[in-house]
């Protein structure tokens, strides 16, 4: 099984009338990888995921998930994937356990195994003591955890998480990610996640940046940041003017003062710091090295920040996001 691609996509395209939501993308995700789809709302991430989950048809191109074609072997794909949708899909009138049982029955799991798995999954997502509670009484974070647990119930090979933290407060977002990372460490599973939060994309092994229906670039978060280039090194010294001059003379760097700090752009900022101390010949009071963020990466490849891109979508994008959250 190893060496096979968990997700393999070629020339995938989806058009709604004249609007091309996905414009012919290629993509490979290795088994066991945590792969992130990053992009603003309306970039086509959800549409692409829907096709991979067999609930939407592609207009052109092909895709296999867990070794099966998403168009012609729908049931085979569905058995092997777990899906956590952007919008909540639990029945709030049922208890946590009833929701899981419903899922297991629909996936045709043998009864004894199902009972065991329900115990395990509830334990895993920390809801064992709430198993008989109606989901109505759950917080947003608990509902999400239940959904993630449910997505894992039938032991999928690939888990799709579409914006798993949307609409959650920062603290809950962080705990969901801790949980996903933990899951990843403990289980032999491929995780395919979409997000429009830059900071969340850093949890992935590899990221594809999607914008306007196209994959702009795909690589590891580290490589993407390196491609964008230099780190930012900011120092506070006893004499900024001298520091700027020496940086030019001795290191060939153009420095400027930003927010009271002398700032230079330099590749491999962390490696540069020891040299800086040794050769600047000035007392350095503080030093900060800032790696380019994925925000910078997005900006470098699309010319805009994610936030700008979303604002350009205007009211309609906002309404969509609100509708998704309900």
């Amino acid at each position: 099984m190893t060496g096979r691609h968990a997700v393999h996509v070629r020339g995938l395209e989806k058009a709604y009338g004249d609007v091309r939501a996905v414009k012919g993308i290629d993509l490979d995700v290795a088994e066991g990888e945590m792969f992130g789809f990053l992009g603003p709302n309306g970039a086509g991430k959800t549409t692409a995921i829907k096709i991979l989950c067999t609930i939407a048809d592609a207009t052109a191109g092909s895709a296999t998930v867990a070794g099966h074609d998403v168009q012609t072997q729908r049931a085979d794909v569905r058995r092997r994937i777990g899906v956590v949708f952007q919008e909540p899909t639990v029945d709030t009138y049922l208890t946590a356990e009833q929701n899981l049982r419903f899922h297991g029955e629909l996936y045709g799991m043998p009864r004894r195994l199902l009972a065991e798995r329900i115990d395990e999954v509830l334990e895993m997502v920390g809801l064992a003591d709430r198993r008989h509670t109606e989901v109505l009484k759950f917080s947003g974070g608990m509902k999400r955890r239940l959904e993630i647990g449910r997505g894992l119930l039938h032991a999928p090979e690939v888990l799709f998480l579409d914006e798993p933290t949307i609409g959650l407060d920062p603290q809950t977002r962080a705990s969901i990610w801790t949980y996903i990372a933990e899951l990843r460490r403990r289980q032999d599973i491929t995780i395919f996640v979409t997000t429009h939060y830059m900071d969340e994309a850093e949890h992935c092994d590899r990221i594809a940046i999607m914008n306007d229906g196209e994959i702009v670039v795909a690589d590891t978060p580290e490589a993407l940041k390196n491609r964008v280039g230099a780190d930012r090194v900011s120092i506070r010294t006893s004499d900024d003017a001298v520091a700027i001059e020496r940086l030019r003379e001795r290191f060939g760097l153009d420095a400027a003062v930003h927010d009271g700090m002398v700032t230079v752009k330099v590749p491999g900022g962390a490696q540069f710091v020891p040299r800086l101390f040794a050769e600047l010949g000035l007392a350095i009071e503080t030093v900060t090295v800032t790696r380019p963020s994925l925000d910078d990466v997005f900006m470098a490849y699309t010319g805009r920040t994610i936030a700008d891109t979303e604002q350009a979508g205007g009211a309609s994008a906002m309404l969509r996001a609100m509708a998704a959250r309900r």
Binding site: C53, T54, I55, A56, D57, R74, A75, R78, R79, R80, V83, F85, E87, P88, T89, V90, D91, T92, Y93, L94, Q98, R101, F102, H103, E105, L106, Y107, G108, M109, P110, L113, E116, R117, E120, E123, M124, R150, L152, H154, A155, P156, E157, R186, Q187, D188, I189, R326
Partner: protein, 288 residues
């Protein structure tokens, strides 16, 4: 943690069944969900009872003074099967369009991404809605004696069975509506728009004898007629009545002069139900 180990052992190729047994389990589970939700809905159940009670005891009693039944027949006895059908009709249709909520609150998606056929899910939904709607009429059915309908076990079972067929038809109709209409604000009036005429044209509230042609034709093409009329005939079969009253209040359904037997009427109802379910499944295209 041994969860990892179990997870590996539980990989889908070994875990997930397939075939008819699996489909039936899915249908049964969707049905069970309707039952669980039904238990939460006691208020709605009580509210749904009010309307038929008003029809039976207020309108029925009011009209009893002016309707000449030829003696020996309480007008409310005549009305009883019609009111039963009416009550099941509305609860069933609303159970059907609860699929609109399922869509809006996302649960439909959980059902539609599962490795089972859509037919299995829709069928479970229809059977579940029909069961809850039928259960709701039990309170009403218990009042049979009050309006002169004998508590004959066989009669009560027949009525329940026919009510279930009617409920299935209307739930399926509700499902059909929600396949196309995606907002509750629109689905509710659309449902009313369809089932209110169905109810009036089924002979639930008036006898079908001596109707003008246009009205007679409309009642005969209404599938619900083939649920209400067998119910009424079943009730009338347990009553001692002069032949004139029987002819006036429980006339035979005829197609171009042919008297349609009760069994055929039920078959017509079942066939229509089947068609509506099939149409509902077909309309739920997979991109929903």
């Amino acid at each position: 943690m041994n969860a990892i180990q179990t997870l590996r052992d539980a990989r889908p190729d070994r875990v997930v069944a397939g075939g008819l047994g699996h489909e039936l389990r899915a249908t049964a589970m969707v049905w069970r969900r309707e039952m669980i939700r039904f238990r939460h809905d006691r208020t709605r159940m009580v509210a749904m009872l009010l309307q038929p009670l008003l029809f039976l005891f207020v309108m029925g009693t009011g009209l009893a003074g002016v309707v000449d039944t030829g003696g020996g027949l309480d007008f409310r006895t005549f009305l009883f099967p019609g009111v039963l059908a009416m009550s099941v009709l509305f609860s069933a249709a609303f159970a059907g369009i609860s699929l609109v909520w399922d869509r809006e609150f996302g649960f439909l998606r959980e059902m539609l991404v599962a490795p089972v056929s859509k037919s299995a899910i829709i069928l479970g939904k229809c059977l579940g809605g029909a069961t809850t709607a039928t259960l709701q009429t039990l309170v009403l059915l218990a009042l049979a004696g009050v309006v002169g309908v004998p508590y004959d076990p066989l009669l009560l079972l027949t009525l329940l069975a026919l009510l279930f067929v009617g409920a299935l038809m209307l739930t399926a109709l509700g499902v059909l509506i929600s396949a196309r209409i995606k907002q509750m604000q629109a689905a509710m009036p659309a449902t009313q728009l369809i089932i209110t005429p169905m109810m009036f044209l089924s002979g639930a509230l008036f006898p079908m004898a001596g109707l003008p042609d246009w009205l007679a034709v409309l009642t005969k093409i209404n599938p619900l007629t083939y649920v209400v009329q067998p119910m009424r005939s079943a009730v009338f079969a347990h009553l001692e009545l002069p032949p004139a009253a029987r002819a006036a209040f429980d006339p035979a359904i005829t197609w171009g002069g042919w008297v349609v037997p009760g069994g055929v009427q039920v078959l017509v109802a079942l066939a229509c139900t089947g068609l509506i379910v099939a149409a509902g499944v077909a309309l739920f295209n997979r991109t929903d």
